[in-house]
Symmetry: C2
Amino acid sequence: MIGTARRRRDGEAKVRGATRFVGDMPAHGLLHARPVLAAEAHARIIGIDTEAARAQPGVVAVLTHADLPLAGGSGRAAEPLAREEIVWAGQPVALVIAESEAAAEDGAALVDVDTEWLEPVLDLDAALADGAPPARISARAGDDDSAADAHGGGGDEARGGDGDHGGAAASPNIAVRQRLQAGDVEAGLAAADHVVRGRFRTSWVHQAYLEPQSTLAWVEPDGTLVVHSSTQGAFMTRQGLANTFGLAMEKVRVQAAPLGGAFGGKLMIAEPLAAAAALVLRRPVRIVFSRTEEFSAGNPAPGQLLELELGATADGALTAIRGRVVGDRGGLGDMGVEALSALLSAGPYRWPAHDLTALGVTTNRVSPGAYRAPGAPPAAFAVETLLDELADELDLDPIELRLKNVLVAGDKGLDGQEIKVFGARECLERVREHPLYAQRHTLPADEGVGLALGFWPGGLEPAGAICKLDSDGRLTVVTAAADMSGIENAFIAIAAEAFGLPEEQVRVVTGDTGSAPYGGVAGGSKVTYTYGRAVERAAEEAKQRLLDVAASELEIAPEDLEVADGEVRPLGAPGRAVAIADLAAKVYTFAGRHRPIEGYGSTAQVSRAPGAAAHLSHVKVDRETGEVRLLAHVIAQDVGRALNPALVEGQMHGGTAQGIGWALLEELAHTDEGQLQGGTFAEYALPSTDQVPPIETLLVEVPAPDGPFGAKGVGEPPVCGVPAAIANGIAAATDIRLGVLPMTPARVWAELQSATVV
Amino acid sequence: MIGTARRRRDGEAKVRGATRFVGDMPAHGLLHARPVLAAEAHARIIGIDTEAARAQPGVVAVLTHADLPLAGGSGRAAEPLAREEIVWAGQPVALVIAESEAAAEDGAALVDVDTEWLEPVLDLDAALADGAPPARISARAGDDDSAADAHGGGGDEARGGDGDHGGAAASPNIAVRQRLQAGDVEAGLAAADHVVRGRFRTSWVHQAYLEPQSTLAWVEPDGTLVVHSSTQGAFMTRQGLANTFGLAMEKVRVQAAPLGGAFGGKLMIAEPLAAAAALVLRRPVRIVFSRTEEFSAGNPAPGQLLELELGATADGALTAIRGRVVGDRGGLGDMGVEALSALLSAGPYRWPAHDLTALGVTTNRVSPGAYRAPGAPPAAFAVETLLDELADELDLDPIELRLKNVLVAGDKGLDGQEIKVFGARECLERVREHPLYAQRHTLPADEGVGLALGFWPGGLEPAGAICKLDSDGRLTVVTAAADMSGIENAFIAIAAEAFGLPEEQVRVVTGDTGSAPYGGVAGGSKVTYTYGRAVERAAEEAKQRLLDVAASELEIAPEDLEVADGEVRPLGAPGRAVAIADLAAKVYTFAGRHRPIEGYGSTAQVSRAPGAAAHLSHVKVDRETGEVRLLAHVIAQDVGRALNPALVEGQMHGGTAQGIGWALLEELAHTDEGQLQGGTFAEYALPSTDQVPPIETLLVEVPAPDGPFGAKGVGEPPVCGVPAAIANGIAAATDIRLGVLPMTPARVWAELQSATVV
């Protein structure tokens, strides 16, 4: 079964509308919550007048920060509603809870927030400037309260800079500073025959999942907080809610509901709001963000500034990389992607020396979250653009330059860990053979083919799984992993193969945190690699129980039996085969002599399975309008082993399309005062079908030694290199290089104009 | 911890009303179902007029048999509403479903069932008589439809009698006949110096749980039937519903809710009704039986007739036993207790020869179910009464007679299985030492002390369990076992002891059939013995994972570590101990290097752990009124190992009290037409506190080699011998022997009169 394209098991129910998302869940006595969002980007709260809202028919309560049963924690989860200070336009300031969604909305419109304006900090450059105004003046939850400027976070260590890369040590807005360095970068750059430098800016980009943040919460009579949520991490959410509200872990039960898209963005955004209201009101409360609330108060990918310089010898050997990656942490973010982005800005290459600094900066923007390969598309945009320039300067084939330096098995990554296996080389070789690569020099005017390599190290987290055979001979896989991006199909394939049943006889159940084995966040391209391995082991253990039953019933040693096609067969005597269902029926009975045909498996992967994807993007630039059209796109991705090529290709298509959004279209823009411009899908420029060219997917299979059947995560790698490939395509077509994403017609046109003028 | 009396963990929530029973569960859009019960005991259905009911405001539907989506199966579950024939007064004939309970009740009163009277068969003697009218004329579900009299069931084999014990081969009402025989009984009885004979009759007795049968069912959009029910067997209910409605097992999900009492009676009575309505109407439907419906349409313990003769040599060696046990199967019962009762009527004694026949008989009574030690109290009533008579005739001490013949380890039971360990001897010896036993000959007139030995072989069924440590260092046990009779406390004790945590740090979760490991019915005194062992193994496996983590963190081999008091300690270096919570915190993180601290365990016990309890009952008979008063009661029970003596004693108290109900009070009486007399707790004579004497509990601990920490089931054994002990007490006080239960004042008085007259 492994390696054959099959239809998605979860597809039909989703197409028919039979999947029950959180917003569809019936609940008796349900209340509906609507947040009141701050209008200003930065302000002190003088007072919140809730009287008119509370008088609104159907409104049950209007909660503000002081009403919430908060116990601690830090960051946004610990401050679900603004405390004394508003730190972004769109920050939830109050929560109106009503018997109907309409009443909640009407109530929210009547809440009057009285504020005193404070100067907003909206731009990373402005935030970093010496003497910049602080983006937050009050202490954040979880910070030491003694200093009003404690929002700076990292303290002495963070402030004590290395002096490199533009100082900024005097800014009150630097929350975190991290530095990753090894070797002698000065010497490396000095020894280089060519050094290239660049400054890159990428925008805030929303994950744009179809289903908004949705949580349903209630409190059982025994005090247990029960949360059904559109979350990527049931156990992580349990931990977060337990921290936020000071509850014992066993007094919080989280069920991950089917997800209508997430892409990294669904972790502890809506849950604290619904849970707080349920804890206060002791009734079920649901919050489903509106699309505008999503854009204003979600947790999109943050804007970044990247400055890199790198050198190489004349024969193309990279010598050193130096740089600084600045990530926007918004007003409340306790999580940033800048450190990971700094690591990834070195690409999957061997560097004799590196020196990379990451700065997390507080601004008056929304708090950032993870989005498919967090920090990777900006990093690849920077480093792959510079490598392209370097190849030009060195007059080397861009693939040859990369092949000369790309990491291979046995090398150590920037994190010092040895790489067991890595298919980046194979991906590059694969696109080199593609006709489009050969045609790149014979294209019409204003067309070009850009190349880039995307890289994702792959996440790790412990996971457990159960496999259990029912008395009718069908197998159930139980994990805590949310139903998202076809995970179910991977588990089914793995369990079916490991146990020996047809896929139709296997199903997956997502258990809640009370009853399911532990499992990490469904993200970071780690589900197949970690959970999947646990599923494989659980299925193997269950198979062993099945063989025990068969051995006892057939009086044949287990090692002389095999499982195939729904039967247990004595080796060499297929005529004596017994159907699995017949064996199962002997187990689950009064006075049954056999243990249940069940198995548990778990894993804690210690070696990563890094992913890579090489892209060729065929672009055409309209010099009149600056519009970039994509004529074709080729992606060669190392997928380890494609359990179901149809789903893997789906991930490659989706990642590439989202990369096109990063490259050409998407940007959460704001006014000079920091208010979001456009908060609907009509205004936010996602790639539409006419903007996505035919995508040719080339599956490169370099088996991951620790993955189930050699498989590994495939979700993140395809997005990483897309903006860089398109940028390099634009350069090939026009000789202009844009350092800014998205590369909108206006920006391209302006760059074309200045290039022409010069 | 094991062996110390502790408070029940589940007690507080139940006392505070915080336990959510099925009747308390909120459900959006819930419909309420009310059954229409047959008035006649036996009738043909001409028509059911539902028009007036359907016109009732709030009534959504009125369902009759033809409306139900039935697919097969047999017995009562396959015929939730009467098909063409009513076979007992109280049989559900229609189901009214309404928006409110009141509307459902009003609707039910308006359903008009038109019937043609058929002669009812209400009495076992009448049912067995040659030429008896048939209690059912139409074929039952699951029977071959070809013969109208196929209700007889067992077919040729069942009909082909052995001629012994009163024939009855010509009755159309014998559903099942089973015979258990070995050795030469004729020769054994001929060789006996004394032979005693008796005929015994016991009544229908209701389990009288406080919470009535309750089921909430709905259908998920993907077609899954979800059932939350007050059931003793989630997996058994799933299997039953899948069979009844022709659903794949994975399309039925059953959650066992906390039980407000069950005692064997809560299995597939309410579930088919609620599930059928939910499947038809596609809305959530709940049914909660009224108390009258409970008495009329539950599944109480059936009436029985027992005829036994047994012989012994002059020195008290038993030679042979012969007998017939007739059990009432009512009009729809596909499950009877007569075969088990026949087996148990030999008591836990060595018999050189036995010949015991069981007859299951169809009548126009409700279908029977299991009730705490099904068939055992009547069996012990018969055999222990006759042994008492035998001791009198042989002039032997009744305990000596029993000790001479009682089974001990190494003996084989009537089922041919060797007994590994058995504490009946120790129980008898224990009561022999009790002062009450010595005082029995020096009591005032009309007082007496009766002795009896009760015996329960113990059930077996495979079971699985999971133990998982949370990141805060607390342990969760997951099984499918319903929360009933303190099960939770046993699991907590076992897991705490096996893992090495204080009990307060352990909790139990009852998972549903979708996510929890398999487990059998919570009944037959097998939960602690089977599930408990699985819990022990799961905890041991989880502990192994904990030691792996500690070994890696402390760099000490796992075998040099011990777990105690919430810490992992290096042997000989307690100063280096690490708190379990601190180790747990290292596991459940991004890039965690340790597998989850979780374990799975399962069991399929193959050797039973039979239970025994010896009773002394001190009775006083009022010759004026026939009233029997209990002055004291002593029970010595082999409990294997008392995990929590407080709970074990609670079981001994409860079992004894229910045995007093059997002995003196309880009877589901009916009119000559078969209508139930009295259907409320005001009329049904449960023992009240003034009728239950102080009960002295003597715990005899003969460890069960395969039980967790030597423990075994303790629920059933205490009830078995109570009616016999009281009957023997009455004989000691008055010299009269009643062969009928309950021994009401009227019956005792009448017997005293006839004894006096003679």
